[in-house]
């Protein structure tokens, strides 16, 4: 053990004494770590956007919908009768209507903006974002009053404009903005406007059915999964737990957009950069020190000691490079929170850990492959000219 520690000390001095390769390795691994972790974080953030319309409704345990619906922005209208059928299922404590549609909003200043219009239950207000709930509820009690997601207000008016008190038109219906709330960012990126259910359906074009979803809360002690299954069996509708429906939102993005391919390519590029830089630089470093390693082997340094030396060099640059890369990603995401397009993105522990494992595998693999020649090398090479 003592001899290994001593040889690690020698190895690290050998590495740091060659600043070009040392910094080349550190910054190469740092850059690829940054690329991998940042792109993974953005990718996961985008996927989360697909789940956010569901996650935003914290009170509902089960979402009930037409069987053809695949995600929250694709509601297929159901008859209001379905609400009563759901309420009749055993284990349902409450069930409320939820309306979600795309609409066009016109401001008094003449701006025309595509929005997501949400109608929440008139009495319980289930479906409103949790923050500032009490004032939100009182804000939309009045007729044709609405609450606006403050994070997307800049898409309707100039940044910094106070929307409260503004009157807007949706399908020629005048609506007063009475409050603001904070919604999770959704995949469409449209501003979100909340109204009472009856107001929301009245400002949209006439249609026989308008009920997008039924939101359900179970009786105490009821397993949401069991409840969802029971609702499906009884009503013939599709019923999913909040988690299942949120997951469907991310699955929809994975299966129906080019996002996984473009981000996969960027992440793959990061892996490739890490492999190329660490493998080539370590191989060059070892090749340049071949005579020294030969001399060490002749003097009496074992192959195990040489392997530990090279692994310690690789792990050191891997560790520092990884730290720089993850630090860069953390800084990017921290300062990026100010930008609405990056709001809510974060570097998950799984990403930080996963990239760490990936970097460790790459540098250790590169080191093991690079050192093979030295391990097989005849120490007598040192006597040849």
């Amino acid at each position: 053990m003592k001899s290994m520690l001593g040889m690690v000390g020698i190895a690290l001095k050998m590495l740091m004494g060659d600043p070009v390769k040392y910094f080349g390795l550190v910054f190469g691994i740092g850059f690829s770590t940054l690329l991998m972790s940042q792109q993974m974080s953005i990718f996961v953030g985008l996927l989360t956007w697909g789940a956010n319309p569901v996650l935003d409704v914290r009170q509902a345990q089960v979402w009930v919908m037409d069987p053809r619906v695949k995600q929250a922005d694709q509601g297929e209208p159901m008859s209001d009768q379905e609400l009563y059928r759901v309420r009749s299922v055993e284990g349902v404590a409450w069930a409320v209507p939820y309306f979600r549609t795309a609409a066009t909003l016109r401001t008094m200043q003449g701006n025309i903006v595509a929005i997501t219009l949400i109608g929440v239950d008139n009495q319980s207000m289930v479906g409103l974002p949790d923050d500032n709930l009490a004032s939100s509820v009182s804000a939309i009690r009045g007729r044709n009053a609405a609450i606006l997601d403050k994070n997307t207000a800049h898409l309707i008016w100039d940044a910094g404009h106070d929307p409260i008190g503004e009157v807007v038109e949706i399908n020629d219906n005048r609506i007063a903005i009475r409050g603001v709330a904070t919604s999770l960012t959704n995949f469409t990126g449209f501003p979100t406007i909340y109204m009472k259910y009856t107001d929301a359906i009245s400002v949209t074009p006439p249609q026989r059915n308008k009920l997008s979803f039924v939101l359900v809360g179970g009786e105490p002690g009821t397993d949401p999964e069991v409840l969802a299954k029971r609702i499906s069996e009884v009503t013939g509708l599709k019923a999913l737990t909040r988690e299942q429906f949120a997951r469907d939102g991310t699955t929809f993005i994975i299966e129906n957009t080019g996002i996984p391919i473009s981000f996969g390519a960027a992440i793959g590029l990061g892996v490739l950069v890490a492999i190329i830089i660490s493998a080539l630089t370590l191989a060059m470093f070892i090749a340049e020190n071949q005579k020294n390693f030969g001399a060490l082997k002749a003097i009496g340094v074992t192959n195990q000691q040489i392997l530990v030396m090279v692994l310690s060099q690789a792990l050191l640059v891997g560790f520092i490079g990884y730290g720089l890369g993850i630090g860069g990603t953390a800084a990017f995401l921290h300062f990026g929170q100010a930008d609405p397009s990056l709001r809510g993105f974060k570097s998950l522990g799984e990403i930080v850990g996963g990239v760490g494992v990936l970097v460790a595998v790459i540098v250790v693999g590169s080191a093991v492959m690079s050192v093979q020649k030295v391990l097989r090398m005849d120490p007598a090479i040192v006597f040849r000219g």
Partner: protein, 241 residues
């Protein structure tokens, strides 16, 4: 010399060495036998390609012989496992190379301490011992310098300190003066000469530098993979040159 100590540090007996070359085999040693005495500086000389370095490599266990026996300090090298052979070399054989082979990013004292560190001696103890050796070799003021800050002669003296750090019984030198000027070469050989007169140690120098023949206690001459003369006298060599 201790009472029961054998006369020879190392012996090789009828060794041959063949190297594959495409579909052919090149035989570079043809049954070489020799022994290295304690307390002497033995020189192995001969023209380039005669097999001197191959003998040196086989004698130190860095290369295996095709046939024949190699014994160092009574230990048959062919009977040792790879790891045991490496450990044996580390503890019993000191190496001095033609190109010094110092690690450029380590100081003189750290370079000289490598064999000790590889053997598990703590860093501070190892460098303290190597620093004392460097003092003895006249490099005290330079022990914290990097190899590139030292002259060729000084670098070779660091290599000598590295070779002597583990108090080895056998010190082998491959063309130790080939890269040095006459003055530095003489200084290096004086140090090796002093080291060789320790009765518990032997020094084997492979060289074709006739300027240093005068330091030899014994000269073995090789040609075409064979020992053609063992125990040459300096006067004979001077006549030959």
């Amino acid at each position: 010399m201790a009472q029961n100590q054998p006369n020879f540090v190392a012996t090789i007996d009828r060794i041959t060495k063949e190297f594959p070359s495409g579909s052919d085999v090149i035989k570079v040693l043809h049954g070489v036998s020799l022994s290295i005495d304690y307390g002497k500086l033995t020189m192995l000389i001969g023209p380039s390609g005669c097999g001197k370095t191959t003998v040196l490599s086989i004698l130190t266990g860095t290369l295996s012989a095709t046939s024949g026996l190699v014994s160092v300090l009574g230990e048959r090298l062919d009977k040792l496992t790879n790891n045991d052979l490496v450990r044996f070399r580390r503890r019993n054989i000191g190496f001095i190379f033609q190109q010094y082979n110092l690690i450029q990013t380590l100081s003189a004292s750290e370079n000289a301490a490598i064999a000790l560190i590889a053997d598990g001696v703590p860093w501070e103890d190892a460098t303290a011992k190597s620093s004392r050796l460097l003092d003895q070799l006249g490099l005290g003021p330079h022990k914290n310098k990097m190899p590139r800050q030292l002259s060729g002669g000084q670098q070779q003296r660091v290599a000598i300190a590295r070779a002597l750090a583990n108090d080895p019984a056998l010190v082998v030198c491959d063309e130790p003066t080939a890269a040095l000027d006459a003055h530095s070469g003489q200084a290096v050989m004086e140090l090796l000469d002093t080291a060789s007169h320790d009765p518990t140690r032997a020094v084997l120098v492979v060289t074709h530098d006739d300027r240093i023949f005068s330091f030899a206690d014994r000269i073995i001459k090789m040609e075409d993979g064979r020992v053609i003369d063992d125990g040459l006298h300096l006067s004979t060599l001077r006549e030959a040159h």
